[in-house]
């Protein structure tokens, strides 16, 4: 029997604020344990949370970029459970009235085409701390509460995803959008973007939902896809073998490449959600909503369409150029400063991408400006340097941050396009090679190549090959 998977994702993204959601402690990563804490995030007796407005702004930006409707009023609720990394014994989250609902994003695969994945809700919550367990000789566990109170949004998708590849693309698209609007750095490796999946299978064509499992601990885009591929196979094998799928939470084991049961439905917590009486409902005014909306940048999908139209780029090239806002901005600045956007795109996606990939560098790390790249394109266009030379120039620009004119000058690369100068050299070469001239006259036009080579050698490769070619043919015929 043929099966299809039904997948929904719950994604946590860390919002990019300097301070925590309910106190003024720093959110920066990597500090010594418990140094970014205060009585409020430590949950000491009597202290109260005060909402960081910046958190709500970023969450609204993200929600709008995900095509959600912002609720005029949202309510913070307490999610109650005991764990040492949760100092208050509850997490402040949103439950019945989330910040935003009813959004979608579009993903595209070669195999399945363009598809919309619905977003059920976006809600705001605080992160928990971290438990650190002692080694084999240390029976203690330690708690680091630096992360406690770091602001998060949880983005819950509809069960619209059908393939593990789509799940990966959804995550990547989400990351791109969150970074575009500046809501989150969304770096999975740093835990700024975390993903849990709900997944079930059913016979293809069926509209009923199967029993789902929840998969946790998939901490890279690749692992999201791999874990779901594994889980689909596991569920299919189980069903084929006549077993029943059990509703449970499973952990992705990266080393073994399998999912493993963590807890069953019966062991699930009753979180006893209720509105947090320490916080007032969050009300979004029309003015505020308009302001946030007006601050939204052009989003990836729109930018891609515009790049195709405005710069005549292929869909593929456009999608690569818009993969980050910085990349797209770099391209546009360079394209505006020269007459060949297509050439800029080729350089960026070709040689430049090659260099950056080799170093694991980002566009922000570049030591030269978009205008420098535009100048390089212009130098080639104007025949000042050859394409081959331009590659060399770009390498130096990339490594040393020099502008192309300086590199060209330092390397003595200016091409000789001056006809009078070239004619002199050509005449000399013709005079020195009478045998080859004879061959040309006998109709062996191929020897032009030989003469070009000789001229280039005589000029230390500085001659403009295009000009040399034209002059050579003319002069050979005259000889």
């Amino acid at each position: 029997m043929e099966y299809e998977a039904v997948i929904g994702l719950e994604v946590h993204a860390q919002l990019r604020t300097d301070s925590k959601i309910f106190c003024s402690c720093s959110t920066s990563f990597g500090a010594d344990p418990n140094t970014h804490t205060c009585p409020v995030c430590l949950g000491m007796p009597g202290v109260l949370p005060v909402l960081n407005e910046r958190v709500m702004e970023l969450a609204m930006k993200a929600s709008l970029a995900l095509n959600c409707t912002i609720n005029p009023m949202s309510v913070f609720a307490r999610k109650n459970y005991f764990y040492p990394d949760l100092p208050k014994g509850y997490q402040i989250s949103q439950y019945e009235l989330p910040l935003a609902e009813h959004g979608w994003i579009e993903i595209e695969t070669e195999e399945y085409g363009k598809r919309r994945v619905g977003i059920t809700r976006v809600h705001v919550e605080e992160d928990a701390g971290k438990n650190i367990h002692g080694g084999p000789d240390d029976p203690h566990s330690y708690v680091d509460l630096n992360r406690t109170g770091v602001p998060l949004i949880e983005i819950v998708s509809e069960p619209d995803i059908r393939h593990p590849e789509e799940a990966r693309l959804y995550m990547q698209k989400l990351r791109m959008i969150l970074r575009y609007v500046g809501a989150s750095n969304a770096d999975m490796e740093k835990g700024e973007l975390r993903c849990d999946a709900n997944i079930s299978i059913r016979p293809k064509g069926s509209t009923e939902l199967g029993v789902k499992t929840e998969i946790k601990n998939m901490n890279s885009f690749r692992h999201v896809q791999r874990a779901l591929e594994y889980e689909i196979e596991r569920q299919i094998e189980a069903v084929e073998a006549g077993e029943r799928i059990v509703q449970e939470t499973r952990l992705w084991n990266v080393e073994k490449g399998i999912t493993e049961s963590m807890r069953s439905k019966e062991e699930a917590h009753d979180y006893r959600y209720f509105p947090d009486p320490d916080l007032v409902p969050y009300v979004v005014s029309d003015e505020m909503l308009e302001r946030v909306r007006s601050e939204l940048p052009e989003l990836p999908d729109a930018k891609k369409e515009r790049f195709i139209e405005q710069y005549g780029l292929s869909s593929y090239d456009a999608s690569l150029l818009i993969s980050s806002r910085e990349m797209a901005d770099f391209f546009e600045e360079a394209a505006a400063a020269c007459s060949s956007p297509k050439a800029v795109s080729n350089w960026m996606l070709g040689d430049l991408a090659g260099h950056m990939n080799a170093d694991g560098a980002d566009i922000e790390d570049l030591r030269f400006s978009p205008k420098d790249l535009a100048r390089l394109v212009t130098l080639v266009d104007e025949g000042k340097i050859s394409g081959k030379q331009a590659k060399e120039v770009l390498t130096v620009m990339y490594r040393e941050g020099k502008d192309p004119d300086t590199v060209v000058k330092e390397k003595g690369m200016e091409q000789i396009s001056d006809e009078a100068a070239l004619i002199e050299v050509i005449k000399k070469v013709i005079a020195e090679n009478p045998t080859e001239v004879e061959k040309f006259k006998a109709g062996k036009k191929k020897v032009v190549g030989f003469f070009v080579g000789q001229v280039m050698r005589a000029t230390q490769n500085k001659a403009n090959p295009k000009v040399v070619n034209q002059l050579l043919v003319k002069l050979l015929e005259e000889a």
């Binding site: 949950g43 007796p45 009597g46 005060v50 014994g89 209720f274 009486p277 916080l279």
Partner: protein
């Protein structure tokens, strides 16, 4: 009357140079030496520190300059043990001040000590204190009321000139009534809750306990006002002490809710409260019978909302970070269970269980959500009454102070001692309890005056005008007066 001072008397004496802060502090310390062994109002006293500070006081005279004031031990004071009268917080020293403590300090008060309460403010007698029971200065065999029983007893016995307490369902007013002093529960949002150890966050409110309504108004003007650290603190016109104490009450309309004068009300209490109402009439107040039809549901509603919030608020006492942790446990779960089983007293555990149940999946709608709806109805009752009344007058508690031990085996009866105060917290409105007479056993009886939201001025004006023509509040209890 030696050794009993009101805020206004002490201020006047400072002004005239009749007494110095150091002399006043010494008198208070002497009183504590004399009576504290019997009253047991304090968890900790800071007499030496108070005396030192009093000696070093400099001009100018700030609003509470040199005034010895006691603070309930569920309000955090930086560097001072804050126990909430619970074993689970024994030894906990907060590294921060409650906003109220900060404002008292800025006003130049002298901290006398931290007063006893029912553990985490859950109770009506201080018998639920995890440390010890406070005794009523009017009759040491009786309770002082609760949960701010320590604060009320300390004021009554002259162990301070004033105190602050907290009121979640009557915890300021009922002990004030039992101890023959004035207790004000301000409007929810009037006084910052930052640093008040939470029992039920949507009901808790800090307020003054004093010898006079005038003092209560004065103290409120110091501790009240918006606080950016408390999101539920209201941005409203500040309370005007002047308005509360300068004007008369002629022409004010006072509502008498018939539901508060029915079954369960002690005849002596009824008589004294009715007497007070006719005295108010003599002052030119117009009295009107009103109905608060949802009052009978107040106690039930309260014990769902308050316990639900408490079950969550008290989750942080888990032995991980501060306070008591059970020793010799084998794993995390056992640490949680042992710490909380041993650290909390019976009443706290009872309420955590009730609240956990009320919030549980499958019961939430029937209990917590329904209680919230009834709460709205109770609030509407008051809104409607205030369309025609400027204030509402009731007994504070159905009986005078009861005997220690009398109600300990019957929590429900104990809960009913708050029957007249609880709805006020559910509605978030202000109310003050003032002495209005004595029982045949010479026990104080309290009158409750309830006001519109953020209209503490009117209820304090009524209370002050009443005290101008009566002398119940000037009576001295046998214990403190010996």
């Amino acid at each position: 009357m030696d050794g009993f001072f009101t805020i206004s008397e002490a201020k006047a004496m400072f002004e005239k140079g009749e007494i110095s802060p150091a002399e006043l502090a010494s008198k208070v310390a002497e009183k504590i030496d004399k009576v504290e062994g019997k009253v047991k109002a304090f968890v900790n006293t800071y007499c030496d520190e108070m005396l030192d500070k009093a000696k070093g006081l400099k001009e100018p005279k700030t609003p509470l300059w040199g005034l010895p004031i006691a603070v309930k031990d569920n309000i955090c004071i930086k560097g001072k043990e804050t126990t909430c009268s619970s074993k689970i917080l024994k030894g906990f020293i907060p590294p921060y001040d409650a906003t109220v403590a900060e404002r008292l300090s800025a006003a130049g008060y002298l901290l006398v000590g931290k007063t006893n309460l029912d553990e985490f403010a859950m109770g009506s007698s201080t018998e639920n204190s995890g440390l010890f029971t406070t005794h009523n200065p009017w009759d040491l065999s009786r309770v002082p009321g609760g949960s701010s029983g320590g604060s009320a007893a300390a004021v009554a016995a002259g162990e301070c000139v004033a105190a602050v307490g907290s009121d979640t369902g009557g915890s300021i007013r009922q002990p004030a009534s039992f101890c023959g002093v004035v207790g004000l529960k301000p409007t929810y949002g009037r006084v910052s809750r930052f640093g008040l150890v939470a029992f039920a966050s949507s009901l808790d409110q800090i307020g003054p306990i004093t010898r006079t309504a005038y003092d209560a108004a004065y103290l409120l003007s110091v501790i009240g006002g918006h606080d950016p650290r408390d999101s539920t603190s209201a941005k409203v016109e500040p309370f005007s002490f002047e308005n509360a104490v300068k004007e008369g009450v002629k022409g004010l309309v006072v509502g008498i809710p018939k539901e508060y004068f029915s079954e369960g009300l002690d005849p002596e209490v009824k008589e004294k409260v009715e007497g007070a109402i006719s005295q108010l009439e003599d002052l030119g107040v117009r009295v009107e019978e009103i109905s608060l039809p949802h009052s009978p549901y107040g106690v039930a509603t309260y014990y769902l909302v308050a316990t639900a919030e408490a079950s969550s608020n008290l989750a942080r006492y888990d032995g991980v970070k501060y306070g008591y942790r059970a020793e010799g446990v084998k794993d995390l779960m056992e640490m949680y269970l042992e710490t909380r089983s041993k650290g909390f007293g019976d009443e706290v555990k009872r309420r955590i269980m009730l609240g956990t149940y009320a919030l549980s999946s499958g019961y939430y709608d029937a209990y917590y959500l329904k209680a919230q709806k009834v709460r709205t109805l109770i609030k509407r009752d008051f809104d409607k009454a205030f369309e025609t009344c400027d204030a509402i007058v009731t007994p504070t508690s159905p009986t005078p102070a009861f005997k220690i031990g009398e109600k300990m085996d019957d929590p429900l009866t104990m809960y009913l001692s708050d029957i007249y105060t609880i709805s006020v917290n559910l509605a978030g409105i202000p109310a003050v309890s003032i002495p209005c007479g004595f029982s045949s056993d010479n026990l104080p009886i309290g009158l409750q005056i309830i006001g519109r939201p953020f209209d503490e001025e009117t209820i304090l004006r009524l209370a002050h005008n009443y005290q101008m023509v009566t002398d119940h509040h000037t009576k001295i209890p046998p214990c403190g007066g010996e």
